[in-house]
């Protein structure tokens, strides 16, 4: 299409909405990665086949959309316009949904979500408690948009903000608006986005770049992927606006290679935008030109750090470098470069459309807007949640997340990925914003929120994170390369029962060195998981070091599995499932675990029937008592 301008964009938008009026009903199927894993694509195809078979294709639309967020309940099907919410849909349910709901206009009761506390069946998506307390200004459109269709985005006012800035705003005005909105970077550190743009804009250079950092490496965080997968045009539009404000002519989206669907969808979206003249030369008939390339990462956590990321785009090892010069001064190939993360870019069109004043009403004094978190771990409602800044952790975990799984006791919530920390129950009243989380020893990070229950060992968690950072440390600077290794070693020793008096002090001391001496944030923040677990759960460290016991019954070297003789019914289940034949016994006779052979894989505990529950784990003194008893017997 040539010479595509604003009038035509508006015309197209009207045409799309007009054509959709005929087909009022739309069956939307969540197509996020979680639902993919549940098999949503087969469900979507089956819906299409059935609609066709019944000759309903002129009345009903079937759309595979972006992620709806409620991953726990996938595959999710929402029937619009009413928003009827069906969950855990299987292939055999489809005929019934078409016959009952689409044709018969009735609800299929058994597919509804049941609120666990009240046992009430909930019909509409908006009434599901998981969604009720959220404010989905960024993520909400995911559920309506087929990410492979630019038309879906345009129909929902997509690229309207772009029109506005290209013809009604100067680059200064755009930057002023973004500064006034109070939008801060969603990648972790929380620098004021507009200010960052301004610095880059003020540097004199013929060539400038903007980059979208989609190297979402924090384990347990996947909101950026869901945005890029589910609504790629919102990110692209944000980048074009940013490029216009800064004066950049080229952009990169750096995506983790572990996210193949995101790569595919965003690449496709860029091609579509190019075809319509929304990218390339003379965008929408204006004088502005800008284009975007997609760069696939190659599996290195450190490339999420901005200077490493640029090195990676340049085809080198993802080594960070000293700052200053900052990327805004000397970035990609030495040119001024502005880097923001996916969620930050996705906020931009919204701010332009609705205005900085509207935007800055949401959130707290220092942290504006909403934040998307991936609420995962030992929580009932796993999924992606978007909440206004300032909501308390408690509200997110209990009201939206439905509390801790299996009625276990809450122990900690971890935010900020490997750079963040664990916060205990006493901190649950903390409101979410950049400053309070940092003060608590954690950080906002990109938005992972991992809930841990009483069965989680905090020393093991610290070891897990340090193992991660040690593995991912690029090795360029000594404090990080050697420091993380030492931290892991001490922590591993503690979890193995080889901890010594003074280890905690050693950990703290090393942490200080890493924080002060590391070149980039990977090393500087790596000790946070250790420091926060020591700060809030020192007793667990003490138990491991002094009593050689793991109170959460996790650390393999400190626990034993034991069959309670008074409970065992002799059903042979554990015996048959033990992979190392460590269990002896006969039918209807008590089974016994040979502790010398046991590899502590937990298979026996897993298969022991819930009614019987004869397998227990023991640590510390109780463990010793049982071991003594059994050795006496064998003598």
């Amino acid at each position: 299409m040539e010479e595509f301008n604003t009038t035509e964009l508006n015309k197209l938008r009207e045409e799309i909405s007009e054509s959709r009026k005929k087909r009022k009903t739309c069956i939307t199927i969540c197509g996020g990665t979680g639902c993919h894993a549940y098999g949503c694509l087969k469900v979507a195809q089956a819906f299409r086949d059935e609609i066709e078979k019944q000759g309903l294709q002129d009345l009903v639309d079937v759309r595979t959309t972006g992620c709806h967020g409620f991953c726990e309940r996938g595959p999710i099907v929402v029937i619009q316009p009413k928003g009827i919410f069906y969950q855990r849909i299987k292939l055999e349910d489809i005929k019934e949904v078409i016959a009952e709901t689409i044709i018969g206009k009735k609800i299929v009761d058994r597919l509804l979500y049941i609120e666990p506390k009240t046992k009430e069946k909930i019909v509409y998506e908006k009434d599901v408690p998981f969604y009720k307390k959220q404010r989905r200004i960024i993520f909400g459109n995911n559920g309506f948009i087929d990410p492979t269709s630019i038309k879906d985005y345009i129909a929902l006012d997509g690229y309207k903000a772009l029109t506005k800035i290209l013809f009604d705003m100067t680059s200064e005005e755009v930057i002023e608006e973004i500064i006034a909105s109070g939008l801060r970077g969603r990648g972790g550190a929380g620098f004021l986005a507009g200010k960052k743009w301004e610095i880059c804009r003020d540097v004199n250079s013929e060539k400038k770049y903007v980059i979208c950092n989609a190297d979402e490496g924090d384990p347990g965080a996947y909101m950026d992927r869901s945005l890029l997968e589910g609504n790629p045009h919102s990110v692209i539009e944000g980048m074009i606006i940013g490029a216009y404000a800064i004066g950049a002519s080229e952009g990169y989206i750096y995506v983790r290679m572990e996210y193949p669907l995101a790569v595919q969808n965003v690449t496709h979206a860029i091609e579509q935008a190019r075809k319509l003249g929304l990218l390339g030369k003379s965008i929408l008939g204006s004088e502005f030109q800008f284009d975007i390339h997609v760069f696939r990462g190659a599996g290195a956590f450190v490339s999420g750090e901005e200077t490493s990321l640029m090195a990676s785009i340049e085809g080198r090892r993802a080594f960070p470098r000293q700052r200053p010069p900052f990327p805004a001064q000397e970035g990609l190939w030495g040119k001024p470069t502005n880097i923001n993360n996916v969620e930050t870019w996705a906020n931009v069109p919204l701010i332009i459309n609705k205005g900085a004043e509207w935007y800055s009403m949401i959130g707290t004094r220092g942290s504006k807007g909403t934040k998307i978190f991936s609420l995962v771990g030992k929580i009932n409602n796993t999924g992606l949640v978007e909440v206004p800044m300032g909501m308390t952790l408690k509200e997110i975990i209990n009201d939206i997340g439905g509390g801790v799984k299996d009625n276990k006791k809450f122990k900690a919530v971890q935010t900020g990925g490997p750079s963040g920390g664990c916060m205990p129950a006493e901190m649950l009243d903390l409101p979410i914003d950049y400053e309070t989380l940092t003060k608590a020893g954690s950080m906002m990070g990109s938005g992972g929120m991992i809930v841990m229950d009483e069965d989680t060992c905090m020393v093991d968690v610290a070891r897990y994170f340090l193992d991660f950072t040690q593995e991912e440390s690029c090795g360029k600077c000594v404090p990080c390369r050697i420091g993380t290794r030492q931290l892991v070693e001490i922590l591993t020793h503690i979890t193995q029962g080889k901890g010594e008096e003074g280890d905690i002090e050693k950990l703290k001391d090393l942490a200080k060195t890493l924080n002060a001496g590391s070149l980039c944030q990977l090393g500087q923040t790596a000790p946070n998981p250790v420091l926060t677990t020591i700060r809030y759960f020192e007793d667990e460290y003490e138990a491991h070091i002094k009593d050689k016991s793991c109170p959460a019954l996790v650390c393999k070297d400190l626990i034993i599995y034991h069959i309670e003789p008074e409970k065992c019914v002799g059903c042979l289940l554990c015996l048959k499932n033990c992979p190392v034949e460590a269990i002896s016994g006969e039918r209807k006779k008590v089974h016994i675990i040979d502790q010398d052979l046991c590899i502590k894989c937990g298979a026996c505990l897993e298969v022991c029937p819930p009614k019987v529950m004869a397998v227990s784990k023991y640590t510390g003194k109780k463990k010793e008592r049982i071991l003594n008893k059994s050795s006496q017997k064998s003598e």
Binding site: C71, G315, R317, V461
Partner: protein
């Protein structure tokens, strides 16, 4: 392979793209590829080795027939992923990152696949297996072995 490499023109900025393409096509980066790339992009072989060993995406050894990837994300970790990994290691008799002697299985870990609701999760030849129990590990391995047999019939 030569054709694939020769299609790329330019300099170092193409390096990671080329490596991705070769890895995709051959399952690993053969040593000949490195010298060819070195000539094509005019960068030293040592530089290329530096880059390709830096990133997890590239491997200098061929992978096995079947690839099993266990997610070690935080959510999976607290839900018991280490036990799942141990069971795979034990059943296959290899460490993570290794390939069985008969070249059938490669076992790898990944930092996070972002399907945390299904944790602990593993991917076997691209297919997700969620909410895994240790006793299901054996089944997954057997399924993969059968798949081979069925397809060769």
């Amino acid at each position: 392979m030569e054709k694939l490499i020769d299609e790329f023109e330019g300099d170092q900025r193409e390096l990671i793209h080329i490596l991705h393409e070769i890895q995709k096509k051959f399952g690993y980066i053969p040593a000949q590829a490195v010298s060819r790339i070195s000539k094509q992009l005019k960068i030293s072989e040592s530089e290329i080795f530096g880059v390709l060993t830096f990133y997890k995406a590239f491997s200098l050894k061929p992978r096995g027939e079947h690839l099993i990837t266990v997610c070690m994300g935080t959510a999976c970790h607290v839900r018991g992923a280490p036990m799942i990994l141990d069971e795979f290691k034990r059943k296959l008799g290899i460490e993570s990152g290794e390939t069985t002697e008969d070249n059938q299985f490669t076992l790898e870990t990944v930092n996070c696949v972002g399907a945390c609701a299904l944790g602990p999760i593993a991917k076997a030849d691209g297919e997700y297996h969620g909410q895994l129990k240790t006793r299901e590990v054996d089944k997954i391995i057997k399924e993969l072995m059968n798949k081979k047999r069925n397809s060769s019939k």
